[in-house]
Amino acid sequence: MKPLRLWRRFFTVSLMREAEYRFNFALGLLQAVAEIFLMLVLYLAFYRFADEVAGWTRDEALLLLGVFWIFDGVWSAALTPNLRALAGLIQDGDLDFVLLRPVSTQFLVSCGSVRVRELLKVVVGIVIVARAGDAVGVAWRPDTLVGALAFGACGLTLMYALHFTIVTCTFWALKVSELYILPGTLYDGARFPVTYFKPPMRQLLTYVVPVAFATTFPAQALLGTADWHLLPLGILLSAGALLASNRFWHFALRHYSSATS
């Protein structure tokens, strides 16, 4: 498939470029480790005072944390660098070359580069999920794994559509490059089981900034406590959100004023 082949090229090119700047690459790896370390300390602090918080034991919560790192690794490697750069491209009128390619422009601006160093989080996340999963007694069956991945994919698509739509608004708010920060704190909520929060926050984190799909539901799928009715809903919402973000993007492009010489 063409997008996949293209993405492989983007990955290769990004890897080549990152390998050029070894100090920054190493620093990035260390920062990822530091982030992971901080979150582990935080969770250990929580469970000093209680064996179970909002229905999640310590090991179950750590499983969710592992899921978060897998999600965050993919998110920070494949999507965030592009969404952050997009605002700048819109402001500087630098989309010319992107707009000229016979490929979906949304795909190019969303996936054009990969921040390879963030993928370390995926590796660590998998390790954490494996260890915590074993401690809790997760049944590693194909259907639970596929279910978890399905929920995660919905979460990724929904979060992407939300962020992308917000950044697209930069066309009308040209002085603001920081729009992508807006959902940021709510994104941080993905680090915790969504039951830690009471309604209406819980609904906010499930349907508005759908971090629940990204981490809580996949973790529940592995633990065998998922509400499977939410999966078809999630798939439907994902498809709809993606389509809407695409329509909105093309509408916004009419307002593009490229930098003139």
Partner: protein
């Protein structure tokens, strides 16, 4: 056959006005003055396949804006454009595969990569088969004389070599129409001439229709049998290059000294160069 056609093409920009000082900053919180600028004002022309045409005019005249509307980058405020039978702003994939844009002031190539890598990305982007890719590459590399530079990091190339690589990358998918925006800006005289020679041979051997904007007289003089003079968003002249000069001077005196085109772009007839020191 008509390759490019513009009919009453227009582009208008709106912007806000802010008064200076602290009071101005606070005022603009509550009240804003909106102003309009007509960058392109009812422009009409037609270009046939295989032609080389130049857009001439001072900075801010609307040449680049017109060019970008023809590429599909900008959405026109009014009028219509047709390129190779397509409506540019719809940006259909079939249309995009048949055109290319090179900008003198904006570089496509990443500095820290060798050109070969970017070319491979373009191979995927434009769905080129390996045979077509190799054939196009060989052709262009010979025309440009850059075979030994393909594996060199772009930042290690000279400005002239970089522009050649930009052209190579832009043309790898064999477009029928090539748009160029200030292609020779910042280049030394020898490189400028090489680029012009290359474009002429490209047009002769592959029949590529070429439309370029420039405020260097020499570009247009050497390359373009036909010139369009644009000033303040309007076409002042459309015809043979030799007659374009007098039209340009007339536009300058009509607009007054304030709006006169940059004197550096108006050498006396017969004199060489523009911003570079004459030989």
């Amino acid at each position: 056959m008509t390759a490019i056609e513009a009919v009453q093409l227009s582009k208008t920009y709106t912007y806000h006005h802010k008064a200076p000082g602290l009071r101005g900053s606070l005022e603009s919180l509550f009240r804003r003055r909106t102003l309009e600028r007509r960058a392109v004002d009812h422009v009409s022309f037609a270009i046939d396949q295989g032609e080389i045409v130049g857009f001439l005019g001072p900075n801010g005249a609307g040449k680049t804006t017109t060019l970008k509307m023809l590429c599909g980058l900008l959405y026109p405020s009014g009028g219509a454009a047709q390129v190779l039978g397509h409506t540019p702003h719809r940006r259909e994939n079939a249309f995009l595969k048949r055109i290319a844009l090179v900008m003198g002031q904006k570089n496509l190539l990443r500095r820290d990569l060798p050109v070969q890598e970017t070319l491979l990305v373009h191979k995927e982007l434009y769905d080129l088969s390996t045979t077509d890719f190799r054939r196009n590459l060989d052709e262009l590399v010979d025309l440009l004389g850059v075979r030994q530079l393909l594996d060199v990091q772009v930042r290690k190339l000279s400005l002239g070599e970089r522009m050649k690589m930009e052209l190579l990358t832009a043309l790898i998918h064999r477009p029928e129409v090539l748009f160029l925006d200030e292609p020779t800006i910042g280049l030394d005289l020898v490189s400028q001439q090489r680029v012009r020679d290359f474009l002429q041979r490209l047009n002769r051997e592959l029949g590529t229709t070429i439309l370029l904007t420039s405020h260097y007289m020499e570009d247009i003089r050497h390359l373009c049998p036909r010139a369009l003079v644009i000033d303040q968003g309007r076409i002042r002249f459309d015809g043979p290059f030799e007659d374009a000069l007098s039209a340009l001077l007339a536009a300058a005196s009509a607009a007054g000294v304030e709006n006169a085109p940059d004197p550096h772009t108006l050498p006396e007839p017969g004199a060489p160069g523009v911003l570079e020191v004459p030989q």
